[in-house]
């Protein structure tokens, strides 16, 4: 049957896919425009402000890059856990725990700057991996669904880090603790921060380069090596995996840890690059980047390289939103645009799935 699938039908199929995606994005944009018009603002003003704020105005795309880094790291981690068929939706918490580990180590590690940077970033990974590892352990040890535990641990993480930021023996900066009741961690030493690069007035930290390298590495590991193959086998069919001697538990647990680790790494990079909160940990440090990074992964659909453009678009919406004040539209409108876009992008694959099934069923019926 598959032999009859001629090239013309595959062209037709590609056209269909393209049309579906274009159409659903269009619907999302029209809906966003309607919401903006409904509150009496002008959509073209809003979209211009977003474009200005995200890359057209001088110095803006550097900032967009800075926001794209944590998004991309979270998304890459999410793809790893999706690969083995686990659903990790607690990146927001894993990120925060990673940032907390990083902040603690940054404040308490003596030694030369570069070494401290290295330790800060690694401990971010460890922190995130620990937090998602809890969910992974419960999944394989007690059969507790990881969807729920990862989600529940987000709030727990926020509360625990909040507790840490109230106590000097954990995270609270001793200098800040004396006078007022602000909750901030100790600032990273100037020589243990990630160096920044300046191109045409666009200033960004080398976390951009680190994350690009990590994306390339993950892409290679997942698509070209036995590591990725094992994850794939477990995700596709555990019976086959067992025949090959691939342990579902070991692969799944490792993927879960890696997934949270990347989220924690995102938190550590945020801390060390200083784009957010000036090299300090504060309550609500992750500013929903964990959730947004999860959305990036959903849109990129298990394709590691697709993470880069999607993360850039979502980061652009974020940085662009700071230019919205002039148009009189609340900046939260970008959350709406973003949510609608993601929702719209969920539709085409689902529609295609149903259509393919119908066609196959029709084929089967015509044969009998």
């Amino acid at each position: 049957m598959s032999l009859k699938l001629s090239s013309s039908s595959s062209v037709k199929r590609k056209g269909e896919i393209l049309f579906l995606y274009a159409f659903s994005v269009l619907v999302a944009l029209v809906l966003s425009a309607l919401i903006v018009e409904a509150v009496g603002a002008n959509w073209s003003d809003v979209s211009n402000a977003l474009l200005d704020g995200s890359f057209r105005k001088p110095g803006r795309w550097g900032r967009t890059l800075g926001s794209a880094v944590p998004l991309a790291m979270v998304a890459v981690g999410t793809i790893i856990s999706t690969k083995v068929g686990l659903i990790n939706i607690g990146q927001e918490g894993q990120m925060l725990v990673g940032a907390a580990f990083a902040a603690y180590m940054g404040a308490h590690t003596p030694g030369p700057g570069p070494l401290v940077i290295f330790i800060v970033i690694i401990s971010g990974f460890v922190g995130g991996a620990f937090w998602s590892g809890l969910a992974g352990a419960l999944r394989y040890w007690r059969n507790v669904p990881e969807v729920l535990t990862t989600l529940l641990l987000v709030t727990v993480a926020a509360n625990f880090v909040g507790y840490g930021l109230k106590n000097t023996w954990l995270l609270l900066d001793p200098d800040a603790a004396v006078g007022n009741r602000t909750q901030v961690s100790q600032q990273l030493d100037p020589d243990s921060r990630l160096p920044r690069i300046d191109i045409f007035g666009n200033n960004f930290s080398i976390s951009v380069i680190i994350s690009l390298l990590l994306i390339a590495l993950t892409f290679w590991l997942l698509s070209q090596t036995i590591v990725g193959f094992r994850l794939d086998v477990v995700g596709q069919n555990q019976k086959v995996g067992r025949r090959f001697g691939i342990s579902e538990v070991r692969q799944g647990f490792a993927a879960m840890c890696a997934s949270g680790g990347f989220a924690g790494l995102a938190g550590a990079l945020m801390l060390a690059s200083g784009d957010f909160a000036k090299f300090r940990l504060v309550p609500g440090f992750t500013v929903n980047l964990g959730w947004t990074g999860l959305l990036v992964a959903l849109v990129a659909r298990e394709k590691v390289l697709a993470v880069i453009p999607v993360a850039l678009i979502f980061a652009g919406l974020r940085t662009g939103s700071s230019f919205l004040a002039a148009t009189g539209v609340e900046r939260r409108v970008t959350d709406v645009v973003q949510g609608l876009l993601v929702l719209a992008l969920l539709v085409p694959p689902a529609v295609l799935f149903i259509r393919d099934r119908r066609r196959k069923l029709a084929q089967v019926e015509s044969r009998t």
């Binding site: 969807v147 529940l152 709030t155 609340e330 993601v342 529609v351 099934r357």
Partner: protein, 310 residues
């Protein structure tokens, strides 16, 4: 010693009960709906968005008409809208239900905070209604029969949900769909239709809960008003082992824990607010780990149904 005394102090204070049921009520509204959805096989995490939408619509309704009833009706409508998107995306288009739910949570956080900043609806807590005689019962009278009047809707909703699920054909089909969708399909039940309908029910209940949260408890809208209550309601269903009784017990338990943050300092006890806030989540995780083998979830919970695919 000090600990037992503290427990006794709380147990013998009327306001502690009142605060506990006030906190629990929102959870019960949402959890009853969520329970039906989970019995049909959907782990509906957009319940957070449904409560938020309900709360915002409640604020808008009150702002326009100064009428609490209108607020609650609009809240139910808003919850229904969210559930419509969730149901159509996950049980007609077969998109992943967690993905859809999560996206809806983020989308509606954006929509409500955006619209709130634009329209700034003003609202206040509905008037209290004390049922004579019943509200005079010592300790728990005020807690159960002396709350803001939308609280009383619970006394209609809970028996209704019980009747719906255990005493109607629809309820039987919903339970069948959640346990064994293949068998239900073969016997002529439209599996995904029943699932969609039970998500609508969850949306209406959660929207009502959102409106209650706004008009019966908090009084003013802000975008952090729900603060994870949807997730706690979802967790209460699991904690209650997918029975109505257990679900309500879970809500009461978590509601009291949440309310202790407010009542204990009033009684002169210092406590760790962070630990108290995370307690419902920690308790649930521990409970799930401890009882995961004893309590049986609906057979096809969180598994999508596509005919011919197992």
């Amino acid at each position: 010693m000090g600990f037992l005394e503290a427990i006794w102090d709380v147990m013998s204070t009327e306001s502690a009960y009142t605060a506990a049921t006030r906190f629990a009520a929102v959870l019960v509204f949402a959890a009853v709906g969520e329970w039906v959805a989970e019995r049909s096989g959907t782990l509906n995490i957009s319940v957070e968005a449904m409560i938020l939408a309900g709360a915002f619509a409640g604020a808008m309704g009150y702002d326009w008409t100064e009428n609490v009833m209108v607020g609650i009706l609009l809240g139910m409508g808003a919850g229904l809208i969210v559930s419509f998107v969730q149901a159509q995306m996950s049980h007609r288009l077969t998109a992943d239900q967690f993905v859809v739910g999560l996206t809806l949570n983020i989308l509606f956080l954006g929509v409500t905070s955006f619209l709130y900043a634009q329209w700034k609806p003003s609202s206040r807590v509905a008037s209290k209604l004390e049922i004579p005689l019943l509200s005079d019962i010592p300790l728990i009278g005020k807690a159960l029969f002396g709350q803001a009047w939308p609280f009383l809707l619970l006394y209609l909703l809970i028996p209704f949900a019980w009747w719906l699920v255990y005493r109607t054909r629809w309820g039987l089909e919903v339970r069948a769909v959640g346990e064994n969708p293949q068998a239900a399909d073969v016997s002529g039940i439209d599996v995904n239709k029943r699932r969609r309908e039970s998500i609508y029910f969850a949306g209406i209940c959660s929207g009502m809960g959102g409106a209650y949260l706004l008009l019966g408890q908090v009084g003013r809208f802000d975008d952090g008003i729900v603060a994870g209550r949807g997730f706690i309601a979802l967790v209460a269903v699991i904690f209650g082992g997918w029975t109505l009784r257990g679900t309500i017990f879970g809500c009461l338990l978590f509601g009291s824990v949440l309310s202790f943050r407010l009542t204990l300092p009033g009684l002169g006890y210092e406590l760790n607010t962070e630990l108290m806030s995370s307690l419902p989540f920690l308790v649930t995780i521990v409970a799930m780990a401890a009882f995961a083998h004893k309590v049986r979830p609906p057979g096809s919970l969180a598994r999508p149904f596509v005919r011919g695919l197992k």
